[in-house]
Symmetry: D4
């Protein structure tokens, strides 16, 4: 009877039972850990990632670095694939050192740690930015969308100050299933795009600007009050935009 590592996936448990290495009662007891693993400072929910098939995501900002490290490691052990967003390079080094044998990458501009390989990519999401300072947020969306199995393309720096830059790309943008628009300052690109295409549009305001830009509240409010129709996510929330886009893209692509 194997006793030691208590936290296993259901698959592992069934295999052990089948192989006679674990008795049924013990398996049932351990199965509780499959779903929620109590680390005292965190209650990790393995069920979610198992069910959905894409990697569990850890929002690292604000978490004690040791807590963040341990959560990522536990998730990686069970699920194989994890994303750590808003992650510092220092956290990456800790995770990378601990997860020998895993594929661990740090996307610097996006500030994302990626453990494991992205899924096969289906459908089509386009990520558009108004300026080049919006790129870090766009990259967080890009890395997340790709990791969740979406075919994703980028059109950066096509803000309304020079409309012809946008017009050069409008046809390819219009072919995507979903469009993510990332913009700071006054966020006018979202309104213009919304008037030109007829696909679901997700707006991500960024804290880019100066003076009275209110740390991104100006494009946030502009997008919410847009004459165009779009779903808005939090300032700088490239991750959230990618998850929503992925839900839509998968729904569309799986149906077809």
């Amino acid at each position: 009877m194997d006793k030691s590592p208590k936290v296993r996936s259901l698959e592992q448990l069934f295999a052990l039972v089948k192989e006679g290495k674990l008795d049924v009662n013990e398996a049932i007891e351990q199965s509780k850990n499959c779903y929620i693993q109590d680390l005292d400072f965190a209650k990790i929910d393995h069920h979610r990632s198992l069910r959905k098939g894409y990697p569990e995501v850890v929002f690292c900002e604000g978490k004690h670095i040791e807590h963040a490290t341990q959560i990522i490691i536990e998730l990686a052990k069970i699920n194989g694939r994890v994303l750590g967003t808003r992650a510092t390079h220092e956290l990456y080094l800790r995770v990378e050192a601990a997860l020998k044998g895993f594929d661990v990458v740090y996307h610097e501009l996006a500030r994302v740690i990626e453990v494991g390989q992205p899924k096969d990519q289906i459908g089509h999401i386009t990520i558009v930015t108004a300026g080049s300072a919006d790129i870090p947020v766009a990259e967080e969306a890009y890395v997340t969308a790709r990791a969740m199995g979406n075919h994703t393309t980028k059109v950066y720096d096509v803000g309304v100050a020079g409309l012809h830059r946008l017009m050069n790309h409008i046809d390819e943008i219009a072919k995507s299933n979903v469009v993510i628009v990332v913009a700071g300052m006054e966020g006018a690109l979202a309104s213009v795009l919304g008037g030109l295409i007829d696909k679901p549009l997700i707006g991500v305001p960024t804290a880019i600007g100066y003076g009275s830009h209110l740390d991104g509240f100006v494009p946030l409010l502009a997008m919410l009050n847009s004459c165009a129709t779009l779903g808005v996510v939090n300032i700088g929330n490239g991750f959230g935009a990618a998850v929503l886009a992925s839900q839509i893209n998968h729904l569309v692509s799986k149906k077809s």
Copy 2:
């Protein structure tokens, strides 16, 4: 040669030319009006509704009542189907009097004037509210979604103060292609729903509450800062939520 009514649809123009009732040059001249009709106080864009197949929508609030009346009438004449949102009963009476022979309905709770019959309804959108005071906004979404050809169901008054009310309906909600959640006060229903279902979720904050509710900014900010993933629209913007939901629902339903 017919001379009088200048504003016709392209279909009408082609028909007249074919029938020899209109010469080609005159048809080309009139075709400019097909797209943008200049009423001096408004530039009506007929192209949009023709292309998209669903009714053109007039946001009536803030417009001079005579302007609103005239815009709705012109759109109805060309497109047959129009929605007038944020419309007073008085405006409805004017429109109804002017559009003899048209099907004109006033949805009182939703404050929407509907000219013409809704399209065939496909797919599935669910509209959920936290309380009964959120119903007017939810009804605006409902009337809009239905008019744009979406099969739409309602689950009202299932806020988190009594979680079991929500749990009774969670399975049917989870089956929709898109879910619209309408909530005021602290908007917690959006977060709870987002943790329970895995479909695209659109949040509509409402200005329901008292004291420090900031006219709906509290649920707006709560939804934007939610631990769940959702696309947020403006406070009370049931219309916008319905359009976004319709884009997604049609994309999914057409593909299948």
Copy 3:
């Protein structure tokens, strides 16, 4: 010796002295009234309007109706031409009744009382609006600009939701000396216009919108944070935009 009406223009005083109807000391005494006339509740400055050649303007909102009436009357008596902005129809009726023999017009949409005829109109100002609900503010600008002697044209309802509506008019707009852009909601028209033309652009945000529009603060902040260059005036301040545009237009037109 004429004694009675103490408030005369300097021109009138010199004429009376020349004609021997007023002695020099009395003229000097009365000349003090030419500049600042103390009505107890208001100190009217006649000098300003005499010097500038265009009508003195009374901001009527917030003033006691009797005070506003009296100030307009006193200004009309000396200068012949007055504008009363933010004026109610009731105030117009009082002024109109009191100023027999004067040309008194009430511009209803603009809420402006105009006493006297506009000056000859030179140069070129264009006033552009995003929607038809922005028209009252645009009309305040239009009446003011015309009264101050500017050739002024209007292009209404060309917001970015339908870019082609704007594109149809962009060439004529670009020919003006100054452009005033009036927009509510997210104010994106200002940014788009600023990217397309190279003339001084004045932005007037309006309190048009709903939900989180913050009574016009959203387009105000959007214009201030625009990627384009424009000078912004207060929310709904059509009057101020017209005065600034008039200063520029006159400077340009007089030089030529």
Copy 4:
């Protein structure tokens, strides 16, 4: 006659008088210092802690480090037990060095210096957090509540994104006399908890979040506008929540 250390507790004074080491007039004179000790930059109130039986608390943030050190030392000398909240490690080192013979502990996550042993613990308070980034605030509450003689348990990281994590613990939470809920982002956990239990609930919003989280104002306002009933304390005020919970818990526990 003892002359030297002027600041003594009333108990010490009575003992000295009884032992004949202090005459009555001198004791009366010194007794004034028992209550309020004037350090020039601070007026320490010893009466409060003596009367209540639990340690006096010094809010250290913003105080000059020498002032904070001296206040803690003076309180410790008279009362034996002191808490220093929002304390740096540097302050701890100074206090620890000065208070030889005292039990001085630094609770790092909670940023609290504790001098002396906690009282006997009665009743039951539970502290619940939504995420693991809320732990520092929860720990401040935990250390304070325990120091004030309350039996206190912790349930961390049970936010509404995964409702089943909360449900696993809801029965034990419901048995407490008072519940403290610590949550950032949109603070929805407070509303959900309030709908599930019927004990006094104290909400502590935290400044955890990003984008438009307004440094904790979002969960603060969400809690104040909750459909559930709770008493809210300042953002991050774990200490205040613990004091209020302790007042309730002691009232309940003493009565029983």
Copy 5:
């Protein structure tokens, strides 16, 4: 077999079964209505009030008057006792007309409709106001607390502008189990009271003031930032303060 009124309490169902007037299967079917009664626009939760023993409360503001009327009537039929807060006199008249045979009272200052008699009153809650303009909010708290079975006393108009007014009553206030302090303007009474008594204190800010009072946000923020310890509820939320006070008071009183 009785068929007609479907909505009965569990007690009624059991009685009917016992008396042989209802068969078991029918009783089980009907029992679903005991808990949640679906009125389409509202899902009434009867379980809550049955379990807790005190009246169910309907927040009437924002609800359509017909909806509010019907919800109160349904609750009254099952539970006998209902509170309708933020109720207009017109709503009272409708409810009173519909509920013949019930005890229906309208508390005008408090704007509360009370159906049925208050429970026996135990323990002790004191409600204190700073000024006489705070009385409506205090009365909402008073009517609620009394209806929920709390012995409740009032001390009105003892703000800090005249400290001796407060001092005259401080001893009686200090004897309560819980104290509710209702204050507008700068809310300083909460801080002063918190320094003088050692019982759980609940602060209710009111929207009383002028100029920069921000509709009650000033006393709200002042209470949250108070040097004293108190649990704060929403601006004007007399009802919420009473419920929280009642939870504490019952916990204390039942234990004794």
Copy 6:
């Protein structure tokens, strides 16, 4: 033995005792009412006005009209002189009807009810306004200052748009002991005045303006951030400015 009217001034009580109409114990009992008279909804403090020699002031806004009426009447009976600020004309009619034999005046622009004659006026306060719309606030200050025994003069409508209007009066303003400056819009008059005179300056921002004026917060913040030195009171608080000015003016004038 006189029994009936319990509320008398200390002077009246001593006189009655001296005349043998009241025994000593009864007088002591009644003397408690001299200071604080408990009307249930209000605790009137007679001591304050007796001690200070100027009229007690009742802030009427927000108070129930019957409460306000009764408070003014009780104060008038004991003190002879009362001010009711923020009073409606309807309240005036009630007070005037009830106080036969008293001198009751309603200052309409100032919205102040004055009972009794102003004190002798000493020293010198000047009240300056930027525009004529600021007059109601200035008049509240004027009536209050005069009633409290200050020689008070007015200089209205001298805002910085026409600096020469201010310059005409600067010498007389500079001679006052205190200057109250009342200004809305951007409040620049306060800064300019502060640079020109060297007397204590009290700023009263008003809610005059439009667009982004934030109900008076703009001049409030401008005055607080002024490069000049002034003490600022709440928006529209003409009364408070007059009390502060009166304290200074009396201090100066009594010393001389």
Copy 7:
């Protein structure tokens, strides 16, 4: 003929002329520098300090350190006495090094550089703080008031959490001509003080607090909305409070 140092006081110029060391035309030319000395980056106004008799003050924060140094030096050379507020220690070292022969002191807590000796001190100002963290602002007020020739006393750490601490000092506070109250958090001390004394009261809010304290806006707004009467200055503006207090104190003291 003396040629070299162009910037002299009028007194110096007259002396030189009298002594025959400077001819009249040259003196007139140089006299222009007496008043406004143009340093390119600053226009120093010597007239102000000469006229008023107390030291000129330089607000150093935000100024380039070389600019600040040079301005202080130029003022010191002409006037002998200067205050530099919000000054760093580094600036002090530069000034001290440049002004050999001058009395240069750095008040560290107050962050003020003082050049020259304070004037004789007359009258009486008291500075009161709520807590010990408010001391830096209070010290800025203290140094400024003393330098401007006011007898100034301090009462620190007497906030309302322990009212008896304040009561111990209330009689001495009440004897001053003016009282400055410095308070952060909820600023309740200002209201309590205002109810207890009858002297002009100046409130200085401080940015002391945590959580929702809004960098001092909470006590600022609380003071502006106080039920007591006080003149409020900007957050942390100890200097401004002292200047206003000095104006009042000198007016009172000189008259006596």
Copy 8:
């Protein structure tokens, strides 16, 4: 056939074709790069600067330093003249090292990198500041205006605290075609200037102040609510003010 550097100006292409060094098809292919050069992270628009004749400007803040460097270099190669605003000294060093043979200057106070020589300067713009802490913003405006070919003068430190400083320069200011006023704190200088001159006035609020200055929102709002007429740009946006002023100045100067 020359093949290598693909990015050339149209002028260069025509020259090469003329000289037979480039064939026509290749020239057409390369001409696409003349307008928009795609650097992946940025789409550089060369057309704009070529058409307008003044240097292209790169807003460097927020851009990755390598991106900023590369964009400036590419623009310099084609246009010869570039401005990099909000540039660090480190960026300057990179640019300077890469652009050998170019004239590269770093304006430190203005934080502007200037590549190439300013154009010939025509017309007249005056830049006025209230204080010396406003100079960095003013210098950004100055460097920009000069680079764009405007004759530009400066009048610094003439705020309203000492009106005579402004009056000494008012005549020279009034002679400009456009005036830029740069002011922090309460921004009153803009209002005073607007009352004294009759030329187009552009206001630039700065984030200079302390306490409640809201990072420049106070002067921003003050300018927008000014009784004078001015066009306002974003807080600290010296660059934008200069571009707008340049547009006006060139329009005026070219016409003459």
